[in-house]
């Protein structure tokens, strides 16, 4: 009831005018403006959900012709031949999962280590020790140094995520590949019977792509794991120390298990990032439609396939690529939703303590 004025309000108005007070009830414009603004905010919020739905529908509907034509054999075959109009993406699905899982292995080892280093205050302690030896630990300027160093280190790790992926790709192409090539070829010469080393690294390949990919997902893992580690209640840590546990007995026996859900959620989200990462892989993986275990052989991923084929795709190829995009969308959405749910549960668990 926006325009109706109750007797009470009328009374207020008269009193306000009579005593010369500066307040006044909201004018019609203010009332309607308020309603309009709230509706606008509501509309945008609903649009956010709508956008997500639209993204799925847009890609899905464009993929329907290809789905009708190729069905599920699209997912299990290994040929990609535009001239014969034969398409299937098993090598790309394999390449996407293979590179992402390998990168996740490397990235989470280093990412969780960095998160521990940041959350346990190792650096601050080291700096404090040095200051104490120098007798500066109570100095008004220097005593803030340990905290500042921790903050600096945290921000520097976050900057790893700020470097655009195309720059990592450029760096991988001109620095990483030439650097690791002698070692890889040496491994291939000596141990060609190991399936991972069964081909030589002639240029782009799985290993350089994995290395660069693991650098790119590390900051995600570190940031989320650090949040999980920091939110472990201090009393648990104190209790462990009080029982005479060493620092690492505390970390491995108490802190990591308590934070494990949050860390796991972070790793899942990083997995989602790795699956969808495009540029570094498109530049480093070699775009070969090949199904191989070898770390040095060129391969392909779904995202790289889209990046390389879309700009030159003909009318008949577009639905096929949309189908591939739909597969990528399905995988990443599933992984991201699982990760988000795990993190939400972990946050609820941490709040309950």
């Amino acid at each position: 009831m926006a325009s109706a004025v109750t007797p009470n309000e009328l009374q207020d108005q008269r009193e306000g005018q009579a005593s010369g007070q500066i307040w006044q009830p909201p004018s019609g414009f203010q009332r309607w403006g308020d309603v309009a603004f709230r509706r606008l905010c509501f509309a945008f919020a609903v649009l956010t959900i709508g956008l997500l739905v639209w993204l799925v529908v847009e890609i899905g509907s464009k993929a329907i012709p290809a789905f009708r034509e190729f069905g599920f054999s699209f997912l299990t075959g290994t040929t990609w031949n535009p001239n014969l109009h034969q398409y299937s993406i098993l090598p790309e699905i394999w390449g996407t999962l293979y590179t992402s899982l390998l990168a996740l292995g490397i990235g989470s080892a280093f990412g969780v280590a960095a998160a521990l280093f940041l959350s346990e205050g190792f650096l601050g302690e080291m700096v404090f020790d040095i200051l104490k030896r120098l007798g500066l630990h109570l100095h008004p300027f220097w005593e803030k140094l340990p905290q500042r160093m921790e903050g600096l280190l945290k921000n520097t790790i976050e900057l790893l995520a700020a470097v655009p992926s195309v720059v990592y790709g450029l760096w991988g192409l001109f620095v990483v590949i030439p650097m690791i090539r002698p070692l890889c070829n040496w491994l291939h010469d000596r141990m060609a019977w190991v399936p991972f080393f069964s081909t030589d690294l002639s240029g782009p390949g799985v290993l350089p792509a994995v290395l660069v990919l693991s650098i790119m997902i590390l900051p995600t893992i570190t940031a989320i794991s650090r949040d999980a580690l920091v939110s472990v209640p201090p009393k648990l840590r104190m209790a462990a120390y009080g029982l005479g546990a060493t620092r690492w007995e505390t970390i491995l026996g108490v802190i990591l298990p308590t934070a494990s859900r949050g860390i796991f959620g972070g790793i899942i989200l990083a997995f989602g990032r790795a699956l969808g990462e495009t540029m570094a892989l498109a530049m480093l993986i070699g775009n070969a439609n090949r199904l191989s275990l070898s770390l040095f052989s060129p391969a392909n991923t779904l995202a790289a396939l889209l990046a390389n084929s879309f700009p030159e795709a003909g009318r008949r190829e577009i639905p096929v690529l949309m189908y591939a995009a739909l597969v990528l969308l399905g995988i990443t959405l599933a992984v991201n939703i699982i990760g988000a749910i795990i993190l939400e549960r972990a946050a609820a668990q941490a709040e309950a303590k």
């Binding site: 997500l52 521990l116 790790i157 720059v167 988000a340």
Partner: protein, 309 residues
């Protein structure tokens, strides 16, 4: 005397009878202390190893890109194959225009959604919106390009800066929504209550109290989103494509034509067999990284000021 009393007396006589004191001392000869110190060093080493790539990239960029850095880079057009010199002025303009289009779409959209989320914390719709935004954060950038291709390029009939801007907007939106919500939720409740107590409407409270107070945090979110969008390549590959010409012709900006961007230029030129183009790719990478890192750091400086207050 009962059993328990006997034990108590004994304990009073020597409470530490069963304690092996040597076991409690810090000594490198004890496996548990030694392992603790060893693990600490391993973790420290791994953390610093994780930082090596960042500095290696920056070092290589300064070394290889710095060589070509000059003013002509910013004023000239990309060279043809085998041509000498040239620059990427049009790519810088293209990047700025497309990020600008994306920002024009996402800033009102994102901030108002953030306002809604902060106002209705527990509602079912609010949690659904928040969840969608979180899912969108992990949305693969290439799929934003695929979407813009289907929704804009196929309909307008050609590659354009507008399509590129829309693709970037999808990637910027979730960051802006989530940071705005956080920033608004961080405003002390007493300020909001004071405004309501003085009879302000929800809109007046939001526009005159909440948004100004939360502005540093919101700006941080916007700057981080802009920094991310400026470096994105995948969504532009087949929405804005690339162009060797200026976006502006005959004194008019036409956003419905193929448009160059720094990121796509790096990708295209890095694959070319001509040394001049590769050099330009490195120089463009240096410019892009500087642009992105500076935007990023400025954005972060806003919210650190807020924290100190």
């Amino acid at each position: 005397m009962s059993e328990i009393d006997k034990l108590e007396v004994e304990a009073e006589r020597d409470p530490f009878k069963d304690v092996d004191f040597a076991e409690l001392e810090t000594s490198l000869y004890r496996p548990r202390t030694f392992l603790s110190i060893l693990f600490s060093w391993i973790v420290a080493l791994m953390t610093f190893m994780a930082l090596v790539p960042l500095f290696a990239v920056l070092w290589k960029l300064i070394l290889r890109g710095g060589k070509r850095l000059s003013l002509t880079l910013f004023t000239q057009l990309p060279p043809a194959p085998l041509e000498h010199g040239g620059g990427f002025g049009n790519a810088i303009v293209g990047t700025v225009v497309m990020v600008g289009i994306a920002a024009l779409i996402t800033i009102p959209f994102g901030v108002l959604t953030g306002v809604y989320l902060a106002q209705s914390k527990e509602g079912r719709l609010a949690s659904a919106v928040r969840f969608s935004a979180k899912i969108l954060t992990g949305f693969p950038s290439i799929l934003a390009g695929v979407f813009a291709y289907g929704a804009v390029v196929l309909i307008t009939g050609g590659f354009s800066a507008l399509a590129g801007g829309i693709a970037l907007a999808i990637l910027m939106l979730p960051t802006i929504i989530l940071t705005s919500e956080n920033a608004i939720a961080m405003v002390p409740a007493k300020m909001k209550e004071a405004a309501i107590g003085m009879g302000a409407t929800t809109t007046q409270t939001t526009l005159m109290v909440l948004l100004p107070t939360a502005m540093p945090g919101i700006l941080t979110g916007i700057m981080l989103a802009v920094a991310r969008a400026a470096g994105e390549t995948a969504p532009l590959l087949f929405t804005a494509l690339f162009s060797n010409y200026w976006l502006m012709s005959h004194g008019r900006v036409n956003i419905m034509q193929p448009t160059a961007s720094l990121a796509v230029l790096i990708y295209n030129f890095s694959a070319m067999p001509f040394p001049n183009q590769v050099e330009l790719a490195w120089a463009a990478a240096l410019v892009l990284v500087l642009l992105v890192l500076v935007t990023n750091l400025i954005g972060k400086s806003f919210s650190s000021e807020q924290l100190e207050r």
